[in-house]
């Protein structure tokens, strides 16, 4: 690497998705101007391909606390970032078609209420009253009014643009290939961009590479238990808005939500494991038509397109966040298992606190990599 370009940065962030973008933004706001390496372009990988759900309900407790704090941030983000992210707190409905599912939702509601998350449990009549567009196959639901959605593409861009404005440097089409560690401390990152090889001297690497994280982890001698999985979403033509909620059923394996312009995004609560393939299989598209059983009014609505994204799955479906024992100058924020979009802002903020203040304002210890040891 004799010809490689030399750079320096106080922090290098690998990954320009919502987690990397938010981390860059909050760091830059605290006066540390990071360098972000994005292997493709902003807003084309998992963050931007997600359903854009911003919800706290129906999560593991560790994530719930983070999500509630993240939603507090989301409420002020558009003003802070000066970017229209199409954020709406339209509510979140989790449906049940059977008693077992309903009992599970009711039990979860108690936990959520204990944590201060205001949710409601609806019986069949209440569901029909509150969501008359749903077919009568559902016997009840759990509802959270403060949950909502944002446009995943615009939100990913919002952080990238705001981070750059605050002083961060974004290098797109630039892939981190290797990390140099000396005496247990990260000293530089090697990358390849459109102009060739780069060597970036840095005391701190923040790794937010999503499903693509394990490779760079390997360069560090780390085994990151993150595996790719394909999930897919379809979008309907514009219809006259008739609901605001993000609705999902794990019995029908379908979720859907309205977008501001009137399109409805429909996703499958299904994945294909162990693939980076982003082609949507035929059965993926056809599976999404199950929405017509849930919302009969959509029978004649047209589907315009479907796309797939690559989730970063961990064994316990919880993210890996924080330092790694024995490796100085390295922080992880990966393996969000399909739940990362909502959490991006709070994780970015907490990581910036960890870097600047030495300690985050909320504990992250239980999400460390060491839990898999």
């Amino acid at each position: 690497m004799t010809n490689s370009l030399k750079m320096e940065a106080p922090v290098v962030i690998v990954g320009g998705g919502i987690v990397g973008g938010a981390t860059a933004y909050y760091l830059a706001r605290r006066g540390i101007k990071p360098l972000v390496l994005e292997k493709s372009t902003i807003g084309v990988e998992a963050s931007a391909r997600s359903a854009g759900g911003v919800r706290a309900q129906c999560r593991d407790r560790l994530e719930r606390i983070l999500a509630m704090a993240s939603i507090k941030l989301w409420e002020g983000l558009e003003a802070k970032l000066d970017f229209d992210m199409e954020y709406v707190q339209g509510g979140n409905i989790r449906l049940a078609t059977n008693e077992e599912r309903m009992a599970g939702l009711a039990a979860e509601a108690e936990e959520e209420l204990a944590d201060g998350l205001l949710v409601e449990v609806w019986d069949r009549d209440e569901l029909q009253r509150r969501a008359p567009y749903l077919s009568d196959m559902f016997i009840g639901a759990k509802y959270c009014a403060t949950d909502g959605v944002a446009n995943p593409i615009l939100s990913t861009w919002a952080f990238a643009v705001a981070a750059r404005r605050a002083g961060a440097t974004l290098l797109t089409h630039t892939e981190a290939l290797d990390v140099v560690v000396q005496e247990g401390q990260v000293t530089s990152v090697l990358a390849r961009g459109p102009e060739g090889e780069l060597t970036i001297e840095t005391p701190l690497l923040i790794h937010a590479g999503g499903a693509y994280s394990p490779q760079l982890g390997q360069a560090l001698g780390l085994h990151l238990p993150v595996e790719p999985a394909r999930n897919f979403i379809g979008v309907s033509q514009r219809v006259r808005p008739f609901f605001t909620e993000f609705v999902s059923s794990h019995d029908m394996h379908i979720y859907f939500r309205p977008a501001r312009a009137g399109h409805i995004h429909v996703g499958g609560v299904l994945v294909t494991n162990d693939t980076f393939d982003k082609n949507v299989p035929a059965e993926g598209v056809t599976h999404l038509s199950n929405i017509t059983l849930m919302v009969p009014a959509l029978r004649n609505a047209n589907f315009l397109r479907a796309w797939a994204g690559t989730l970063a799955m961990t064994p316990d479906r919880l993210p890996i966040i924080g330092p790694v024992e024995g490796l100085g100058g390295y922080l992880l924020a990966t393996g969000f298992s399909g739940h990362g979009f909502c959490l991006g802002p709070i994780v970015g903020k907490l990581l910036s606190e960890l870097v600047v203040d030495g300690e985050p304002s909320m504990p992250l210890d239980e999400l460390n990599l060491s839990r898999f040891a």
Binding site: G43, V280, E283, T286, L304, A306
Partner: protein, 491 residues
Amino acid sequence: MNITKERTQTEVVVVGAGPAGLSAALAAAQAGVQVTLIDNYRQPGGQYYRQPAAEFKTLQPESHQREGKLLEEKVTAAGVEIVTEATVWGAFEGNQLALYGPKSPPNLQAQVIILATGAYERVAAFPGWTLPGVMTTGAAQTLLKEQRILPGRRIVLAGTGPLQLVVAAGLVQAGAEVVAILEGSRPLQKALRHPLNAIAALWGQGDRLREGLNSQLVLRRAGVPYFTGWGVIAAHGQEEVREVSIAQLDDEWRPIPDTCQTLACDTLCCSYGFVPATELARLLGAPCEWRPEAGGFVPIRDEHMRTKLPGIYAVGDGAGVGGGPLARIEGRIAGLAAAAQVKAKSSNGDETAILEKITRLKPALRRERRFQQFYAGLFTPGPGLDELAQPDTIICRCEEVTPADIHEAVRLGADTLDAVKALTRCGMGNCQGRVCGPLAAAVVAQETGRTRAEVGQFRVRPPVFPTPLAALKPVAEDQAENTLQAGGLTR
């Protein structure tokens, strides 16, 4: 022959029943293989052989319509299953097609798929192009040929190519006033620069010349003015088009200063050539190349019309714009090659005889390709056409995106066509990027200083046509269960 809705497999499936598809189906069926031909209209024929609506059957059909009817009869007699009103909304791994339509099975797997999907008209985004009354010349032709409807009373035609003359003659004969025909190129001058090439290219093109002369005759008798080296640069009107601004164009199709005039009209028909419909080939992952003279990006093919994907062929305008006669020859070659491929597999084959037939078609193929090259040289719009859009001219009608919006997206850092699409919504509407795709690519090329070949095209996503949610049926239930794993998302 009627296809049963239950059929899920066939030997050869041909998508599109225009000249290329009909010829491919006929050649393959006559060579002895099982063929299913699919088209999304009520009647086979495509745009080239577009038949009058059933209600007008007693009217005297014109020569293309007669030729198409004859071909269709041969195809039916050869035992081809024809499925009309069927939309192929996706093509997937394993030569699987996904369809919907009142008479069609939900999916069809074939040993060979021949894509004969035709082309769209290329549009230009000049100020006012979205006004009612501005349409493509092909749209006017469809109204005229199929529905016997005049699109307007006082009509200006602008663009390039002999289609303008044919449609103008049809409009005159149907009683419209054609105010003027503007040909952006100077075909005669160009042809005379290389007279020997012109003669070589026109050799054996008697039918085409006759059709052209007939149109000319009608237009001359009606006193229709025909200007070469002129084009429309803007359309004006409140509720609909009332007049158009025209200007003399240089060789690059850029307006020459101080030549602008206006023409009053109630309809403007625009014809700037065609863009191959390559969605299915791209969805399957067939590598494409940029060939502006063939209408843009086209699948890379070998001499048997095979794409780089096994068992996937592409023919006709959908594989590179070349017109009806070339489409027929390509169709025959692909049909024969497909039959040979199927027979080779079943090992009782006489493929050598089939391959000899292909060899005998080579001279005709060369002749038509020579003509196509000559034709494209005369009638391909210059780069000035893509520069008519002003910053506030809408280029994506579905999502109302302008060059200014794209400029802003590029400024924010959107450095690929798909990133621009994501940020601006350009191409996310009902046309799925068919109309705005080339327009957006041209703007992105200008904004980023890259070539069209480098900018590429929008990624194709299924369904390739807007498809009713309720029409989507699983390709194979058991297969679905294997590939999709529930419970991966625990929460």
